[in-house]
């Protein structure tokens, strides 16, 4: 991870320290084990045994059962909502658009969300799309310890999710940080992410050059991910067509997000890094002031 991104992560970590994740509206929850759920959880009320799976809390291993059966079992208690943040970060090349602050903004925003998660006492996992969805090195730790954060893959999020979906925790708060600029049906991404989620938030990070059409004149556009070239002459009409296409694209994502009950907010990278105004996420009840 290069120094500008590391610096951006530190910035985001600092900015996120003023915030905490909001409780999802669907499943009210308090501290650990404060709410009994219908599913297996971590309350004191024993529910049943099940076979041990890697990753289970070893404190829940029923040693008595092991002594009897020579097989590891864990005790399941009545479900407690265990707040968790699954952060899916778009690692494609478009997120590191040249001559923009997009990569730094995405990294900083991810660090801010992870920091808010820590403030809330939540656990978190960070996934990055890179030949499928892969866990970020040290992604469960403090953002200052993250490693391997790069935006250099040509695979879009929908293909990465289809290739290797992230192992999202049940009822986790899921946040997708991406520019959402790829063709295709948004539902291909939103449905897997929204399934069994306490909350799904789409945080779109755009560079200013994404939000605004190029200046007039002859321009050779190059796709940052595919390398495809297109020669165009940009005039007023062409600029208007771009704005319309962008608005239509964002509208389609908004509509898809509404269908799955997700919230969507858009940040301009240069503005975010300049002002660190996360009010949109507060208004969307993704974050709250800590």
């Amino acid at each position: 991870m290069d120094e500008p991104l590391r610096q951006a992560v530190r910035q985001g970590r600092l900015a996120g320290s003023r915030y905490a994740l909001s409780q999802p509206a669907r499943v009210p929850m308090g501290m650990i084990g404060s709410q009994l759920g219908h599913r297996s959880g971590t309350s004191v009320e024993f529910r049943e045994h099940r076979e041990y799976q890697p990753g289970d809390d070893i404190r829940r291993i029923d040693w008595h059962a092991f002594a009897r059966t020579d097989r590891l079992h864990v005790k399941l208690f009545r479900e407690e909502v265990n707040p968790h943040l699954d952060l899916l970060l778009d690692g494609s090349r478009s997120m590191a658009l040249a001559d923009t602050a997009k990569a730094r903004a995405a990294a900083a925003l991810s660090a801010a969300l992870a920091s808010a998660s820590l403030n809330s006492g939540y656990s978190h996992d960070v996934w990055i799309t890179r030949q499928g969805c892969q866990p970020l090195t040290n992604g469960r730790q403090d953002p200052l310890h993250w490693e391997g954060l790069t935006f250099d893959h040509e695979e879009s999020v929908d293909r990465a999710v289809a290739h290797t979906p992230p192992r999202l925790r049940s009822q986790s708060i899921r946040v997708l940080v991406s520019d959402l600029l790829w063709p295709g049906d948004p539902m291909a991404v939103l449905q897997p992410l929204a399934g069994n989620a306490a909350m799904l938030a789409l945080v779109q990070v755009l560079a200013r050059s994404d939000a605004e059409p190029p200046p007039r004149g002859s321009v050779r556009l190059v796709d940052s991910e595919t390398g495809e070239r297109r020669d165009l002459f940009i005039d007023a009409a062409e600029q208007q067509r771009y704005r319309t296409a962008l608005a239509d694209h964002l509208e389609s994502w908004n509509q898809a997000a509404a269908r799955v009950g997700a919230v969507m907010r858009t940040f301009i990278a240069e503005d975010l890094l300049g002002h660190w105004d996360l009010k949109p996420l507060v208004e969307a009840e993704v974050l709250k002031l800590h």
Binding site: K102, L181, S224, A237, R241, H249
Partner: protein, 597 residues
């Protein structure tokens, strides 16, 4: 129409690459990386240029601007259109002197011919050629087609000794009239200021060093034959030249060329060098040549043998003393045969003698009584007998003027004392002369003075020159050969170095034959064969230092040219203006719709 000589046209031309550069810079594409092209799916692709070569895309505006500039550039050249459909009368004066051949493949003649060919194919002319030799002459009737003109041009051989361009130009002006144009093709610049209008002068020469024969002579009359060659090198630096002398027949009668002598001549620039040599008696024609240079026409001379012609003399003098005197006189002279049966000259003191139809007579009139004349004597210096005849201090005894019995000397007086004719020349026919000399030798000092042998030498030389044959065998090109035909000659045919024999009229006693070409000439008659040679011996023409290339004069300056062509600049300006209007319309239309033309 001239193009590159007009500064305005050049400036307009130079703007074309500037325009192309502006369009190239304008149409360059700036590169921009975007997150995704998915939002540009509905964009209109660029129609101008591009990285891929699909097909050549040239903007219409660019084409229009190019066309406008090109029209303006062409208009700046002053285009004109012909107002007449007829052929323009053109007379071409061709320098026919041999200096035009210097340089062989790059000679002025070759280059001039090429330039003429190009000009003939370019224009529509009613064409006539005039060869400028010593005298101008036309090459043929006027022609309209370039092919016919080129055929006539084959007669331009450049063999003349000199080129009288002034006379040729005057003839051209006379033949062409007021509306005709004159073109002079030469190897030297014009010697005068070319008046603007009807005359152009094209020169294709180049200054070169040249070594040449400027003199050659041969004497076979007395003793061994002698030759003299005069050579000059015309250049800036001294030169070394090899002189080779060959003969085509040996004294023994062979026909293989034999190199007589070779010599290396060290020549100073501009200074003639004479080289003498003896050749065996009886040697036939000899050829002398110099080592090769740019002009070979003057590097060769042919010298024919000129054996002395003997004058047959018969003495029919009754007076013993006179006969002895005359016998001694004639025997002391070379080339005189006093034993000839058919004498050319009959010397007598008798009133009536028999003689041949071509025999001259010299009759001595012994007057009795006689008086001595001391002078002054009047001598007709124009007469062959009077050349160099000095009679100062001579006592000439002859009859007195009051003597009634004095025989009157008929004919033209040659020597007189007062009103007494002492020597006369009567020519009853063209081939005869009856000379009378009134003299009492024993009472005179004439026979003991230098005038006596001079008189008879003149007589013999005059008689020899009048014998049938060529007066001078070795001549220069441009000269005339004078030939006395034998009596009764009815046919004569001349063979020139050009190779084509032609008949000549043989009615007269004498023939004058011009010698335009160098080489051997032969006159075949029914009475004999006469040979003579012409050589290129012209220092002025062989001097190539003044040769130069260039063009002088302009036909376009003449009022006639202005009438033949009118300006069509207006057409170019109108076309440019129309395209400009179209350009403005397209720009205005493109600006409103955001669509590039």
């Amino acid at each position: 129409m001239p193009f590159l000589t007009f500064p305005l046209a050049l400036m307009a031309l130079s703007s074309l690459p500037v325009l192309a550069g502006i369009y190239w810079l304008r149409n360059r594409y700036r590169r921009q990386v975007v997150s995704s092209l998915c939002l540009w799916e509905h964009a209109n692709p660029a129609r101008e240029g591009g990285r891929r070569i699909e097909k050549l895309q040239i903007p219409l505006l660019f084409l229009l601007e190019l066309l406008i500039l090109a029209l303006l550039a062409l208009g700046a050249t002053g285009p004109r259109a012909s107002t007449t459909s007829t052929h323009v009368p053109l007379t071409v004066v061709l320098d026919d002197s041999y200096s035009m051949l210097a340089g062989d493949a790059m000679s002025a003649r070759t280059l001039g011919s090429d330039a003429l060919t190009e000009e003939l194919h370019r224009g529509r002319y009613s064409l006539r050629f005039i060869l400028a030799g010593p005298l101008p002459q036309t090459l043929g009737a006027s022609v309209h087609r370039a092919s016919e003109a080129l055929r006539q041009l084959e007669g331009w051989t450049c063999r003349s000794a000199t080129a009288n361009l002034d006379a040729a130009i005057a003839l051209a002006a006379e033949l062409g009239g007021a509306q005709g144009r004159i073109l002079v093709v030469s190897d030297a610049p014009p010697p005068f200021e070319i008046p603007s209008g009807s005359l152009q002068w094209w020169a294709f020469g180049r200054a070169r060093a040249n070594s040449a024969f400027v003199g050659a002579a041969r004497n076979d009359e007395a003793g061994p034959s002698r030759c003299m060659f005069e050579v000059v090198h015309m250049g800036e630096k001294p030169a070394e030249v090899r002189l080779t002398v060959q003969t085509s027949t040996t004294p023994e009668g062979g026909t293989e060329p034999v190199t007589f002598a070779q010599a290396t001549l060290q020549l100073e620039p501009g200074r003639p060098t004479q080289h003498f040599m003896e050749i065996p008696s009886g040697t036939g024609p000899i050829v002398a040549s110099l080592s090769e240079d740019d002009l070979m026409e003057d590097n060769r001379v042919l010298l024919l043998p000129s054996p002395p012609r003997t004058v047959g003399v018969k003495l029919a003098v009754t007076d013993e003393a006179s006969r002895q005197l005359l016998t001694r006189t004639f025997e002391a002279m070379e080339g005189v045969d006093t034993t000839a049966d058919f004498p050319d000259l009959l010397v007598t003191d008798q009133a009536q003698v028999e003689r041949g139809p071509t025999t001259w007579t010299l009759r001595l009139v012994r007057d009795d009584p006689a008086v001595p004349y001391l002078g002054p004597f009047v001598v007709d210096r124009a007469h062959p007998l009077g050349e160099g005849l000095g009679l100062e201090g001579v006592i000439w005894a002859a009859a007195g003027p009051e003597e009634e019995t004095t025989e009157q000397l008929a004919g033209r007086p040659v020597v007189t004392a007062g009103n007494v004719v002492l020597v006369s020349d009567d020519s009853p026919t063209t081939r005869q002369h009856d000379l009378r000399v009134r003299l009492r030798a024993e009472l005179s000092t004439l026979t003991r003075s230098p005038a006596w042998p001079v008189f008879f030498w003149n007589l013999v030389q005059w008689r020899r020159a009048s014998l049938p044959g060529v007066e001078t065998l070795n001549l220069r090109t441009g000269d005339e050969a004078r030939i006395t035909l034998a009596m009764g000659t009815t046919q004569a045919q001349l063979q020139t170095p050009a190779g084509e024999p032609r008949p000549l009229p043989a009615g007269d006693e004498h023939l004058r034959i011009p010698l335009p070409l160098p080489g051997l000439y032969t006159l075949q008659t029914d009475k004999g064969l006469y040979s003579f040679a012409a050589n290129v011996l012209h220092a002025d023409e062989s001097d190539l230092g003044a040769a130069k290339a260039g063009k002088w004069g302009q036909w376009s300056a003449s009022p006639q040219y202005q009438r033949e062509y009118r300006s069509i600049l207006w057409a170019f300006a109108a076309a440019a203006l129309g395209l400009l209007v179209l350009h403005a319309f397209l720009v205005a239309r493109a600006g409103g719709k955001g669509v590039r033309a």
